[in-house]
Symmetry: C2
Subunit: 399 residues, 2 copies
Amino acid sequence: MKKTDLICTHCEKIFPISDIYPRCDNCNEPLEVKKVTKGTIKKGNPLNQTILERYEDFFPFKGIEKGICLNEGFTPLVASASLAAELGVRTIYLKNETENPTWSFKDRGTLTGIQHAVRLGYKKIGTVSSGNMAASMAAYGAKAGLKTFILVSADLPPEKLNPIAIYDPALIRVQGDYGNLYYESLTIGKKEGIYFINSDVPFRVEGSKTIAFELCEQLNFAVPDYMVVPTSSGGNLRGIIKGFEEFKLCGLIDRMPRIVCAQASGCAAIYTAQKKNHERISRVENPDTIAHAIENPLPPSGNEILRKLRANDWISVAVTDKEIIHAQRRLAGEGIFGQPASAVPLAAVRQLTGQGVIGSDASVVLLISGSGLKYTAAFERHDLQISDCRIEDLGEFMK
Amino acid sequence: MKKTDLICTHCEKIFPISDIYPRCDNCNEPLEVKKVTKGTIKKGNPLNQTILERYEDFFPFKGIEKGICLNEGFTPLVASASLAAELGVRTIYLKNETENPTWSFKDRGTLTGIQHAVRLGYKKIGTVSSGNMAASMAAYGAKAGLKTFILVSADLPPEKLNPIAIYDPALIRVQGDYGNLYYESLTIGKKEGIYFINSDVPFRVEGSKTIAFELCEQLNFAVPDYMVVPTSSGGNLRGIIKGFEEFKLCGLIDRMPRIVCAQASGCAAIYTAQKKNHERISRVENPDTIAHAIENPLPPSGNEILRKLRANDWISVAVTDKEIIHAQRRLAGEGIFGQPASAVPLAAVRQLTGQGVIGSDASVVLLISGSGLKYTAAFERHDLQISDCRIEDLGEFMK
């Protein structure tokens, strides 16, 4: 690995790059890899590159270790003229992260996390997740040939267990306080030599930077006015922000987008803290939203996101399940079927344009975080239309 | 549209490019767009192009019509050293078509089909499908704002209906002989002005060419020895073959791969005809396989595929459900979870290496056609491993 350090996002204490415990022993806030201040995009054809190779200057790695990669990222950016007209803004773009190896954005951070693990010599990895991240880690752990521990809650239904189990990880239903497992797993991992690549560990955050990098390329380096991201742990949003920051430090773009942290109102720790002008987030008691993928009651990077929002006059929004379901169907009308969490940005922008916060000249990017096939229970919330017809009546029926 | 014709794949009779009836009125065999004999790959960054723009020379279109596109294609090619070692061949590559807008290869042909429809002025489109193609057409029809008829069999379960209905097409359960609906829909479509973009219509076949084009780029124009494709209607395989043929005609590659037409033994019309040395395929009575996506009892391009196999000494293989399930799990062990049809190529290659047909020096590409999330009933066929543990025992458990 190239020479660099981890730095605390809050108190700026320095830690070695080889540290796998992702939080500061001084203030308990998350660490991150020191920002890159000099770099360019590698030349070449993305069809023959991986994201780590194309953006190599922005990672402490040289190339890809041992072929442990599924060619994640390089996802489409799709413009929607009809959504832009409907919402009264200049342009709307959908960054479709469902086109990843396990059909969510998580694969980017899993890639960088496992690259770090393998370079440090770890043979065992793990994660605490019941959804996108669990499937992603199980898939990459299988590809890498590493022992992979996936810790899920004891009551997870088969619909969610099976798409994780198919990759043959050590899949463990944990009985007890699942809410504490994020911290518990890190402690056990450090002791037992298991690298827990949880939601916001520094090297998972590194992977999410590539969403910003690709966006800049896809928009020919014209930074969007608003970047809207469904937010749970805060790890993905931290990565996207860091990506834009590093491209700006390196002179590849000349400004930052205004960030919109989009949460579900049934579990909106960051939004609530910003609205109440609190310095720190508080745990959400009894979280309840259809957007399960972003239902983290105590986001481990919540305070750091809150600091960023406050320092930059950025925005947080909370949207109801009703708004989410409406937005999910509207996105399908654009040909993109995302899981409920993926619809949160569209619902958020609808609020913000309605309030006049986002104006008619704005360009807006919505992050579509994961595939709708991952959470089929949402179908019950839609009024789906199906007709019946005899084959001999078809000609008449279709007139 | 650029000036070209349709030509019958069998008797070579010529038809106008504006024809939407996909078969010859002389011999009833499928038509295709005349082969391109002069062309190059457009320069530029695939992150800022669509497949139609990059390979524009190979289509009768100029660019993209009205933004009707979801940035399909440009899917990963992932090498598997461990599969190559296990099967005793030089290299195995997995072309991962699950990373498309509706998570199957069908989106490529839907794109080109709808581009043709819109350029001809059609406001209504349709398809006959109960799976990947139905979802793909529904998504693109929604994006295009076209009236989209999706004809499915009367007994289709909700698990398959819902992911089509979410895009709001005119979704019709058809009572009667579903087997005849391919031809019936084409006749009604011609009469009622509905462009039925069925499994092997010429402009759907055109879209599948881009799989071959990308493969050539991804392999730096070193053509693989074997190209293994799960085969049902024959449309996708026809497109892949045509893509390699056109690149060869244009001097971009110097030879063809040896094609392997991989079928499920419970529905193997092409394999059976080749084995029996028949001139034409026969309808499979009572088709029965877990690979529903390739369960077409009378492939409309079956005779044309058979002609190609015989003329070139290419190969067809049939694999059992047991072999398919085994291969599906093995692919998941490589981090790629495909639907059962996607596992048919791996099962086929296992047969062919076992028989010594494919030798130790061979390079082999397997087409992974669609996402495993599309057919979750297959989980029941796997022995999935899940453990339980109390949180206080986790440290001990993971030792």
